[in-house]
Symmetry: C2
Subunit: 271 residues, 2 copies
């Protein structure tokens, strides 16, 4: 099944655009879990258990797993296996390298870890992204307008006679590269007006991954309104820290669910 | 010791600007090694054994290791430990993410694997690079002008009134961000005229990592001439496939040494 079909099926089933980012961090999980041998996996399991009926997908940022070495590979593998198959998973690595090397990254996310989607960095151009695009049923979210303050350093530079911001050029390229209908774009909630332009340039078909609500302070109302396509779909609102670390007692999962539920409902208010 | 000191010490000791890229690939190593349990590590060991007196540093592209899962982490750890301490190692990951996440990537390359340097992608701007720059004695090679054909997609876009190519803007930023004297830049051998401009913009202090000779067909003479600083140093000419896979018989290491020696000598001809 194509990613967008799988995604929009979950959007309908759970009536949700919410994506929970499983960015498990030893410095932030409830302290009682640190004493357990499998504390990080227990944390992920509990977060997944209390959110499966609230999300349209999960996102896993590879940095949090890779930095744990061997244990991280095991944790990532077990977490991927634990997530119910019907819920799509975005393995967020923001990779980008020359073709020969990018093939290995694509193999890693799609064949080794069996993710449904991934994120890639556009700076090196099309041939660095092609090995990912060869996976027809997956979705490749290309960084367009990221949510961090320094995004403006390069992404807002004005290009050419028409003084087009770089991120708009990238959005145009994503539309052009979407021949196999498996491209997505990353557009941060912290720049909602830019998000609006990206949706306009990119059309209805391309799903947008929208990080930056919650801790990063993005505007939720505008992000939802501008992010969705004309059917109120194809937008994924990601939140990680605000949900995962809502509370650090033994009842953390209860509070994470509350936070996820509240965000899901607020998102739906604006759809 | 600072990276550039360590690097230039090896440049002098081995009279070499050559960097061997240890991009071990199960599809390309000599077939007799595939039968061995520890074949990939044996391959790396032999390549290292025959090149320690020919290189100024090694580069390890993380994609080739990560895509092997658990085994890759083990192989990377063992390979890092096997390389003599005096030879600097660049762990090539081309990472880039929001600050909170980039901290984990920086921890991975510098604390977990104890690399001397890494590569990062500039698209997300300064705050995505800062967590790396906090490691004063390491070197952070920022992608500027990459060696692949599609590099032109974005890196050559003309920015602002002065119509400055994006990669030159990035070069200027690298110079600006080099407060701790621990920035480097990646500039491909396949665009030697651009390399020349980058060295001019970036000054003498910043080491350049120059991939793209060998299989990618970059111009060696120009890359060396334009890449080095006024003392004939601070340039690293990387070659991976042409050296590693020079031959796939049981005597592969002999041929790899020959290829490395020939490239080292040719580089020195142009210094």
């Amino acid at each position: 099944m194509r990613f967008t079909d799988k995604l929009n099926k979950m959007i309908e089933k759970n009536n949700s655009l919410l994506c929970v980012g499983l960015d498990v961090d030893t410095k932030k999980i409830p302290p009682h879990l640190l004493k357990k041998e499998d504390g990080l996996f227990t944390f992920n399991k509990k977060i997944i258990d209390v959110t499966t009926d609230l999300v349209c997908c999960y996102k896993i940022n590879m940095a949090f797993y890779e930095s744990l070495g061997q244990k991280g590979v095991e944790l990532l593998t077990k977490t991927m296996e634990y997530i119910p198959r019907e819920i799509p998973v975005i393995l967020d690595g923001k990779r980008g390298d020359i073709g020969n090397t990018a093939e290995h990254y694509a193999y890693e996310v799609f064949d080794l870890y069996k993710a449904d989607a991934t994120t890639v960095n556009p700076y090196m151009g099309l041939d660095s992204i092609k090995p990912f695009l060869n996976y027809r049923d997956k979705c490749i979210f290309i960084l367009c307008r990221t949510s961090n303050p320094s995004a403006v350093d390069f992404q807002n530079l004005l290009v050419g006679e028409k003084k087009t911001p770089l991120y708009e050029i990238v959005a145009g390229k994503i539309r052009e590269w979407n021949e196999k209908k498996n491209c997505g774009a990353v557009a941060g909630a912290t720049y909602p007006e830019d998000l609006k332009k990206i949706r306009f340039i990119i059309g209805d078909d391309v799903p947008l991954l929208i990080p930056g609500v919650g801790k990063q302070g993005g505007n939720l109302e505008k992000s939802v309104k501008y992010g969705v396509n004309s059917e109120g779909k194809n937008a994924i609102i990601n939140s990680s820290r605000s949900i995962l670390y809502a509370n650090n007692s033994e009842e953390f999962a209860f509070f994470s669910r509350k936070a996820a539920e509240a965000l899901k409902d607020e998102i739906n208010k604006y759809r």
